[in-house]
């Protein structure tokens, strides 16, 4: 194994220990597990006779709403703020970043190792949570739901949601790792990005494309209509095809990570004392 791989492996091992099990990140677990709890309740309540009648199609729409409005706009977004912003900033606060900076490790590799550790954690939490929620939400339909997944559109929807959740972690992860290198307070860039992402439906079609949510929304299998009166302000843009959206998002993430790597080279260890 060459030196770089060994070094990235070293960073990854150390960072996974910190990011996967972090007492300070309890709220990130809560963000990921919240919808799983709701889906579990929905399943259990659906089995009772008093639960109102509804179809798998309606549950599918409920999940699409949950995914659009909770996972993409809140859960994964803030989960990535919590995980990725702290990769460098957290170590500055804890005064431990110099341990890394005193190893003969290219700063770009440090960024890569930290990003991979954050990404594994985020994907485990949020793609895992998406998968669990999807599988549990219609579980009370029993065999019909199994049939919906195995022989209907369920499997493709499941795959798409997990893919979009993963891509969201990739994209927002790169954005917030970079912002963690530049901002002491991660909430400032988070607020700016959040406002931008939520304004997306109302932006002109050119500006729409300068965001993560636009590409992710286009990849979602079920579209959620925007209710009136907000729908009159929505500007339609041509949806980006899959083969552009996915590589485009990955390319954008790589560019951000390269910039973060170059910035990490210039970063000074100054804990403010």
């Amino acid at each position: 194994m060459n030196l770089w791989m060994r070094q990235v492996g070293g960073v990854l091992r150390l960072e996974l220990k910190k990011t996967l099990v972090s007492r300070r990140g309890w709220w990130v677990y809560l963000l990921a597990l919240g919808p799983v709890g709701l889906s579990l309740m929905h399943w259990l309540m659906g089995m009772s006779a008093t639960f109102g009648h509804h179809s798998i199609g309606e549950d599918s729409l409920v999940f699409a709403g949950l995914f659009h409005f909770y996972y993409l706009r809140l859960g994964i977004f803030f989960g990535c703020v919590g995980i990725f912003s702290n990769l460098f900033r957290g170590e500055m606060l804890e005064k431990t970043l110099h341990y890394y900076y005193m190893t003969p490790l290219r700063r770009e590799l440090l960024v890569a190792g930290k990003y991979l550790a954050g990404l594994i954690t985020a994907i485990l939490l949020f793609a895992g949570s998406t998968a669990l929620s999807f599988l549990m939400l219609g579980r009370h339909f029993g065999a019909a739901y199994t049939d919906y997944i195995l022989h209907g559109p369920g499997l493709s929807q499941f795959g798409s949601y997990v893919l979009v959740a993963t891509l969201a972690c990739v994209g927002y992860g790169a954005v917030f790792l970079m912002s963690g290198l530049f901002f002491r307070n991660p909430m400032i860039p988070a607020a700016v990005v959040m406002v931008w992402e939520n304004l997306n439906p109302f932006l002109p079609s050119v500006l729409k494309k300068v965001s993560v949510i636009f590409y992710l929304k286009n990849l979602c299998p079920v579209e959620i209509p925007i209710p009136p009166p907000f729908n009159v302000m929505v500007v339609d843009a041509d949806p980006t095809p899959f083969w552009i959206a996915v590589p485009g998002l990955l390319a954008l993430s790589i560019i951000l990570l390269i910039y973060a790597g170059l910035s990490a080279r210039q970063t000074e260890i100054n804990y403010g004392e």
Binding site: G10, K18, K95, M102, P104
Partner: protein, 330 residues
């Protein structure tokens, strides 16, 4: 030690080539409007070098610059010929023990050292061996599987020392390494620094405990408000402080007679009889002339001299003369 570019002498008096030295050439570092260090030029040869100065004098800035953790606002630094902008090379040669009592969370003493050794590219076997060796050096083998967070302050300090030196660096930078250590551990640490210095390593130490670092220092750099006030071997530095007469303690059988002879020749400015009546503490502005005169008096009068020792050529005295205040308690 001398200003950068002029070459330097080791503690043993041998000329040291530039690529074996740590050099600063007109280095300044500002934190916004605040001065860190200003226009520092140094060439530090191998051996134990103490950085001495009050809080805010620039000791940590100087160390962080050497370690490449911060960059100079102007000037050039080379550590064994390596620019700090090349961490991939620099960090193989440098080990840094920072003053912060902070550690990556959730690691045992063993993992703390092993994990970072892996980032040097050492194999598992090599990292394991080095980790155990460094833990043994600081006496933490027994406690290696306990979390660092559960260590006492002294143990944590020793773990940091082990971590900083496990990759066998040629330059060891130690910022307040004696903090939190009990007297026994402190004595052991000092012995270790001395050993590293004698092995030809650079050991750069900053400490508030002047009398302890004084004992092992080959060179000293005195800093005040971001400026290098004095640098070199402590006796040479003391010799340069011309406005403070040198104190010398002479133990002899007839101190009164010796004092009278010395005053008669005008080579001393002050004499004090030792409390036991068998010694004389004197101050002279010309030590060389004093020693010649003393030889003559001994030959003329038959005085029995037990010992002669400078009484103020230690770091603490020099610190007080040049910077002021009580050195030992800065």
């Amino acid at each position: 030690m001398s200003a950068a570019g002029n070459g330097a002498m080791s503690a043993t008096g041998n000329a040291v080539p530039q690529e074996k030295m740590i050099t600063f050439a007109n280095v300044s570092r500002f934190y916004g409007e605040v001065l860190g260090i200003n226009n520092v030029s140094l060439a530090i040869p191998p051996g134990v070098t103490s950085l001495v100065g009050p809080n805010g004098s620039g000791k940590t800035t100087l160390m962080n610059l050497m370690a490449g953790l911060i960059h100079p606002s102007q000037g050039e630094i080379r550590v064994l010929g390596i620019p700090p902008e090349e961490p991939e090379r620099l960090c193989r040669a440098v080990g840094y023990c920072a003053q912060f009592d902070a550690y990556p969370k959730g690691l045992t003493g063993y993992q703390f050292i092993y994990s970072f050794l892996r980032m040097f590219g050492f194999s598992h076997e090599d990292s394991d061996r080095r980790t155990l060796e460094s833990l043994e050096t600081v006496g933490l083998v027994e406690a290696r599987n306990r979390p660092v967070a559960a260590y006492s302050k002294g143990m944590r300090q020793r773990a940091k020392l082990a971590q900083a030196t496990a990759h066998d660096p040629q330059v060891v930078i130690l910022d307040e390494p004696l903090n939190g250590l009990d007297p026994l551990a402190r004595a052991e640490a000092i012995a270790l620094f001395e050993k590293w210095g004698k092995m030809g390593r650079h050991v750069i130490v900053s400490s508030h405990i002047l009398h302890e670092v004084d004992r092992i220092s080959d060179q000293v750099i005195l800093l005040s408000q971001g400026y290098v006030v004095a640098e070199g071997q402590i006796q040479s530095v003391r010799g340069e402080v011309k406005d403070q007469p040198m104190q010398i303690l002479v133990r002899c059988d007839q101190p009164g007679q010796l004092a009278a002879q010395l005053f008669a020749q005008g080579k001393v400015v002050e004499c004090k009889l030792h409390t036991d009546g068998r010694g004389l503490l004197l101050r002279t502005t010309d030590a060389d002339a004093f020693y010649l005169l003393l030889n003559r008096i001994v030959m003329d009068t038959g005085l029995v001299i037990e010992s002669i020792a400078p009484a103020d050529d230690d770091v603490n005295s020099v610190y007080q003369y040049l910077i002021g205040g009580e050195g030992a308690t800065i």
